[in-house]
Symmetry: C2
Subunit: 824 residues, 2 copies
Amino acid sequence: MATFGDIGLAAGVNILTALIFLIAFAILRLQPFNDRVYFPKWYLKGLRSSPTHSGAFVSKFVNLDWRAYIRFLNWVPDALKMPESELIDHAGLDSAVYLRIYLLGLKIFVPVALLAWAILVPVNWTNNTLAISQATDKLEYSDIDKLSISNIPHGSKRFWTHIVMAYAFTFWTCYTLRKEYEAVAAMRLHFLASERRRPDQFTVLVKNVPPDNDESVTESVEHFFLVNHPDHYLTHQKSFEFMLEAVRCDFEMFSLCLSYFYRVLSFEIPVWVSGSCHVLYLSGSFMVVINANKLAKLVKEKKSKENWLDYYQLKYSRNQSQRPMTKTGFLGLCGDKVDAIDYQTAEIERLSKEIAEERERVKTDPKCIMPAAFVSFKTRWGAAVCAQTQQSRNPTVWLTEWASEPRDVYWDNLAIPYVSLTIRRLIVSVAFFFLTFFFMIPITAVQSLANIEGIEKRAPFLRPITEAPFIKSFIQGVLPGIALKIFLIVLPTILMMMSKVEGFLAISTLERRSAMRYYTFNFVNVFLVSVIAGTAFEQLNTFIHQSPSDIPITIGVAIPMKATFFITYVMVDGWAGVAGEILRLKPLIFFHLKNFFLVKTEKDREAAMDPGSIGFNTGEPQIQLYFLLGLVYAVVTPVFLPFILVFFGLAYVVFRHQIINVYNQEYESAAAFWPDVHGRIIYALIFSQLVLMGLMSTKGAVQAPPLLIALMVLTFFFHRFCKGRYEPAFVKYPLQEAMMKDTLERAREPNLNLKGYLQYAYVHPVFKDDEDDEDEDFNGKSDDSVIVPTKRQSRRNTPAPSKISGASSPSLPDVVLENSSSLK
Amino acid sequence: MATFGDIGLAAGVNILTALIFLIAFAILRLQPFNDRVYFPKWYLKGLRSSPTHSGAFVSKFVNLDWRAYIRFLNWVPDALKMPESELIDHAGLDSAVYLRIYLLGLKIFVPVALLAWAILVPVNWTNNTLAISQATDKLEYSDIDKLSISNIPHGSKRFWTHIVMAYAFTFWTCYTLRKEYEAVAAMRLHFLASERRRPDQFTVLVKNVPPDNDESVTESVEHFFLVNHPDHYLTHQKSFEFMLEAVRCDFEMFSLCLSYFYRVLSFEIPVWVSGSCHVLYLSGSFMVVINANKLAKLVKEKKSKENWLDYYQLKYSRNQSQRPMTKTGFLGLCGDKVDAIDYQTAEIERLSKEIAEERERVKTDPKCIMPAAFVSFKTRWGAAVCAQTQQSRNPTVWLTEWASEPRDVYWDNLAIPYVSLTIRRLIVSVAFFFLTFFFMIPITAVQSLANIEGIEKRAPFLRPITEAPFIKSFIQGVLPGIALKIFLIVLPTILMMMSKVEGFLAISTLERRSAMRYYTFNFVNVFLVSVIAGTAFEQLNTFIHQSPSDIPITIGVAIPMKATFFITYVMVDGWAGVAGEILRLKPLIFFHLKNFFLVKTEKDREAAMDPGSIGFNTGEPQIQLYFLLGLVYAVVTPVFLPFILVFFGLAYVVFRHQIINVYNQEYESAAAFWPDVHGRIIYALIFSQLVLMGLMSTKGAVQAPPLLIALMVLTFFFHRFCKGRYEPAFVKYPLQEAMMKDTLERAREPNLNLKGYLQYAYVHPVFKDDEDDEDEDFNGKSDDSVIVPTKRQSRRNTPAPSKISGASSPSLPDVVLENSSSLK
């Protein structure tokens, strides 16, 4: 049992680590050559460009302004300054609400900690049970235990305090949760309501279009919706002026024309082709991969050639005297020497043609046309109605659901038939069960292969090497651990793959599902395995053979004994880990490596930035583990709570900074994940009550079990209530809202060409040629970049100067919005 | 352990009982004076009237035609003859599908029984485990055990047969279930599609209309739907010609005018008044009861007076010489003597006025107007859309759902606010838990009060009586049993009350919910309590303290030992009970008692018939218990299956007869209960696999647990699949269907006055004056009575004469469709 001294030492070490990380960050971020690592978000928004065009050569890389270093902790107030509404504009609602999870942690645990320290700690402290048992049974105990429930004598009246506190904590948590759910639901609805026009507001994804012998998918979709939604279905437009206007005059005109004709002929219902087909899904997906791969490969190759062309043209523009030359062979190292610009141009043309042909092939190949479509409606009301109702008698065909944002669509899963979906769910559920409880088996197998004897047996010629003392100790000491470590690193990827196999249609859903699984995995393999020794499988075995009333006792009794372990865990994983997050060591190294070896053009540099995203599928389960720990220990070992508080506070600041300056979200789901967050906290709450019941029933508190069971029932019904009251805001789209927006829009823009607007909204990525342009058209980037600087401007003129973006890049006095000329 | 002889004896006794019931029925039903007891359905449909107008006096009461008695079992082929489509026309889809549950039992268990007897019985029989253990351990065993799994030696390879059979039975059951679900879903959709125009197709129930300070509920509903469903909301009609046409010229013109004005003024949105109000629900419901009671009392009083008036007018018409006189005082026995007809007419007028005043009072009292409305739409499409979508931001207001049939609405629950609903659910769940597991406690308490000593202590003056030997033995022997019996009789009522408290809005939902609870109660207190001795509470206690892996073992081991008990149970409850059902002893006695003492007019006689209904809330759980028993014993003791088969066969015939001739369904839910039926059979299937696993793991069949767990997982996912594939047909209304019907209707009746049609559809019962007329208008009775005889007619002319209705009433040669003249 650890004493206060031990804990203090551990805390010191971890605080020191965290501080080192923070100082390193504070210094590194001031260096101009790291600017793209620590402020990529601003680059992506076009509000900041490489700061290397003026001043001395060295100042391009190192910040020599000593004053900047004095204010090295300025990022903290900067991160906190941006108001939430501005944050939503800047980074999206998902990110803003994600931050609220940390804030929720503070809201729940600050009063809980205060109350626990004011009441529970004195109640626990003023006993001498542990002292007596030390005297009689020679039991060791630590100061921390003296503050915990362990110090209360058997059957004491003082347990009433703990029960009352359990009630108080539960009520407070529920109250906060409810407030928060309400707030987030309101934010979501406000966000959706105040949003600009977006294609997904008008669009419904129709899956499982039934095959028809007489009609193509396209025709069948059109007929169905013309018949069943006659007033709302956006009919096709015949004007050819419009067509001419829409055709873009780039070197892919031919392909575009074809694809445009295709769309016009197919009555404006974009039937998307992802190279995967209905028939093939049951017999394997070879053709799928080949198809998509070929097209994707061609597109990628073309991009690379375009990049080279840019490079050579730039080179030529600098030095007009000499046309750049290249060799046609492998990596430009062998073969005939030709004019580089001409060569690349010719290559690009060839590839464009090939891509166009491949596209046509895919489009005309009936096997490749998926029985799914994005159907657009004239009004939001029409789309809301279609998305929320059943279309056909047979509930497995003509399935409709809201189309996710174009960025959020997961194209590969659009064509899974209904029966296959059920089978996939079954397989994935079984696979996840085995993954959770039996993952140690293959790892143990690998470890047994990777030991010295195994290697020597299989590869006797390696014996001289493996017998070397250093290598031997390395293999014996590190290798077994590495197998486990590698597994844990790839675990999120495995879980994500599982979600993909399960057949969800949006990236946001995939991430939510993976988060759920990751949390379950962590709960079993981190929490339970730490509390009760033994692997998950051994525990499962124990639990099956234990009575249901013994399980909470087994866990409950072990809980107070593991307090110090989890305190250390929080400090290492929470404090130092979060401080490490802000340093972004991996992206920093990778950026500089890429910059040094690969970057040729400005586009490459953009690509090398890798801002990353929040990573909901791994980040949220981690926070949830802290909620679980906090709730479990709130009554049992209140001394635990301050450590959790430090985590939530630090993480809030760090992630707020990262969200403002670094992360670039791939999609915007408008906080669709909140019901999951809420549900898991409720789960943690009920679990904490259960183990408290188990613990107290062994301590002779006879009044505890019935009272705590009642509390569990109440908590459960609170959950039911919240689910009914707030969850619909996250899964449905009220008609009132839709009608309101429709009416407003009709009043404001009576002549809106909605058809033109929705024309290219849902295009499969491989069909997007000028991807960047379209992206900006549809996800609102171009608008944001107008809104945000305006606001900044106005803030700069206010009496209290808050240079949020400026202060975040303190040593860059004249950031000029200039683009390509800065290439070295 | 029972031998074949014991079982044979029990079977003999029960077959005899059943036969006596059937013969008694066969004789009683031929007597004309029982005709209304055994054929009320035909009377209600107006296809049959009292057969007492011709022939000798005695033949009015007793059937003297000896030939009729020869064909006394003719009702069986008669019951089976009517084809299903005709049955649906005749008795509704609910009844037809209810019969399919019995048929499903036959479909599942006939092949299972054949297979089990062909394979399992020989496999079990050709062992001598029991003989050996009898020789060594002196264990008793019966012949039945020799046919059961108990006769297989420990760890034998023969258990593979049982596992394979478990798989085969599961697959067969699932296959049949799927087929049946498909068929019932198709029947439901066909029924809904081919149905005539019905008000509920156009109507949506809107609950929780938010209170508004500036607008009444009526106005607020109108504004909301005008704004949010502008194209579909049925707007109000201003023509006063229409109004005049609609007003009926009965002696309640005044009241009707007022109520009509009220409706016109309130823009055609029928806002219903049930005397219960939003505000009061939280603080109790005193006013509710008072209000509804007063109005209902007045209506009832008026009805009684009208009945007397009929009686006197009839009397006068027979004997014109003398005006009938009556006394104004108590029961017409004292007070002034007045002209009876004039007096009753005056009384009726006075009451009509009072009723009208009371109605106006209720309507104008803002406290009595509930925040709920039935909103009608122009098209089915509009109603389907509104019912399936969320209307407002706040998911607890403007809740919409399909309006049930007017007959099916449970008016009292229309105004429960959302929070109150959650609390009600909580309270009812907790109450049901205690009812199930602790119901023995109050009964034991009552029993202890009702014993001799208790009575003598409390009422010493009764001692002389209670000391009498007969009374003493009566009290000691019967009274404790009576307490339990009374509880079991009132149990369905208690469960129904629970469902009502829970706040469901349709009688069909109430019944479904009660059925679910009744099944749970039976499962715990009949099945489990019989398998493992001890009360439910003791078992709960055992299970809590047992490991999850031991519970199936405990049950599984006890299962084969209880086979004979359940065989007896099936014979008593199933065979004799079903045969008793057809005799209708209670309605028979009550009808004759009422007929003798109370009946004055033809209306009274109608009321005395009491045809009853299927009683889904008690009947279906009983069938489910047989499914459970059949599935559990299919592998363990195959000898059990024939007994179940006899039950299903007998019950099918009996209930088909009853449905054709007796029961009068209160509502038509279009087989909405099927998902529950399906779900409970799946539950029984998984439970049977679980106990089989428990049993086999004790018999040393190590291969069984993993294989049976896999089977359980497969069964569960089969359920998931069916839920997704077929359940939507029972809870949603596809837009394609709605659009189809709308289009057809528009083509057929372009000038339909839908407004007039929907005018009086949803009227609270106390506001219906000429209830019978309106009922017929809206629930299609009047139409059915046209359709059915036509079909009969055509059948009579076909070469194979099938006189279904005629044969069911064999001794009534000239049933004349004449009404009131037959009054004695």
